[in-house]
């Protein structure tokens, strides 16, 4: 995910329907979730439900009176609309936050992710739901992640000031990290260097100067 690119990139494509040119652009977060919901219905086994989903999708994607499109153009227009609006990068909170334990809770409901976006942004920035629903979907997801991390840091700071953060011996007990935050380890020195061929290794005893110098330093410190 590149925030700057998401902020400035304008995704749109022109479709030609019955001699008219219509510019389709990536829909904001509110409609993005409606499109996602519709996209699920496009997989329906019931052809009538599937057909309804096709026309609903086109309407939400910004095509006026989709039922008037020539049948021959329908598939290509739908493909363009899906291509423009498909979800590209999901942030960690979106992939794991809602299913932390892998189990469904009785507090879960359909499209809860959108409710989380509206609630989090409205609470933190005091934006109206209309403003939030008009944000690009990637931008909204980035803001929510930053708010969640910032809130966690605030909670961690308060925790360090409390007695609960230390055991009887005064040792610090770290504050539990967010389940979806994982440190990404880079390649180890050996991995970065790559394997050395046996034929290229030196013969005889290899003197590790680094190790020796460390030992000398340790002795000097004592």
């Amino acid at each position: 995910m590149n925030f700057l690119a998401a902020l400035h990139e304008q995704t749109h494509q022109t479709v030609h329907i019955d001699g008219r040119s219509i510019v389709l652009s990536r829909r904001p977060v509110g409609e993005h979730y409606r499109l996602r919901d519709c996209g699920r219905k496009l997989e329906s086994e019931d052809p009538l439900e599937h057909l309804q989903a096709v026309f609903d999708y086109l309407e939400i994607a910004g095509i006026p009176q989709p039922e008037q499109i020539l049948a021959a153009d329908l598939a290509s227009v739908l493909n363009t609309a899906i291509e423009i609006n498909e979800r590209i990068d999901l942030l960690p909170w979106q992939t794991t936050y809602l299913t932390e334990s892998g189990k469904t809770k009785n507090t879960d409901y359909d499209n809860r992710e959108l409710a989380i976006i509206i609630h989090t942004l409205a609470e933190a920035y005091h934006w109206s739901p209309e403003t939030i629903l008009n944000l690009p979907p990637e931008i909204a997801a980035c803001y929510v992640q930053e708010i969640m991390l910032s809130e966690w840091q605030d909670r961690e700071f308060s925790y360090t000031l409390s007695e609960a953060a230390y055991d009887e011996k005064g040792k610090y007990r770290p504050y539990p990290a967010l389940s979806w935050v994982v440190e990404i380890a880079g390649p180890s020195e050996k991995e970065a260097r790559g394997p050395v061929k046996r034929s290229m290794l030196p013969d005889g005893i290899v003197i590790d100067y680094e190790k020796e110098q460390n030992e000398i330093k340790a002795n000097q410190d004592q």
Binding site: F55, P66, A71, A72, A75
Partner: protein, 138 residues
Amino acid sequence: MRSKRIKINKQTYIIQPMNAKDGLEAIIKMAPFIEETAPYLAVLAHRRKQVRITALAKAAQANVDVPALLFDLISLGSTVPIEELEQMPLPDLLKLLKIIMRMNKWDALWKAAYSLRLVDEKKLAAWIWSSLVKQKVE
């Protein structure tokens, strides 16, 4: 698109044009019947009367009600009352069906329905086989 008036045997019928949604809905509704009736529909518009009679007889033997299917197909694309359809001879029914299919471009609708995965390959193949559009109606 405006509705079209057609005259068959001094009788005028009004055919309503369909938009893409209604047309595709009609295709979805007719798709389940097409597979089983394709062999009979394929020869129903044959120029030789004997072939048509044999086709109908074979359909009756297989418990397939071809006139009922024709009524259904015509009803999907027009507002002609079923009582009137029942009075029509078979060649006129076929003529009416052919006009409805041409007017609403059912071939294009079938292709679109297949592209959108509303009908499967088997049903499309059955439709192409049974297609009455390209055949001459006496």
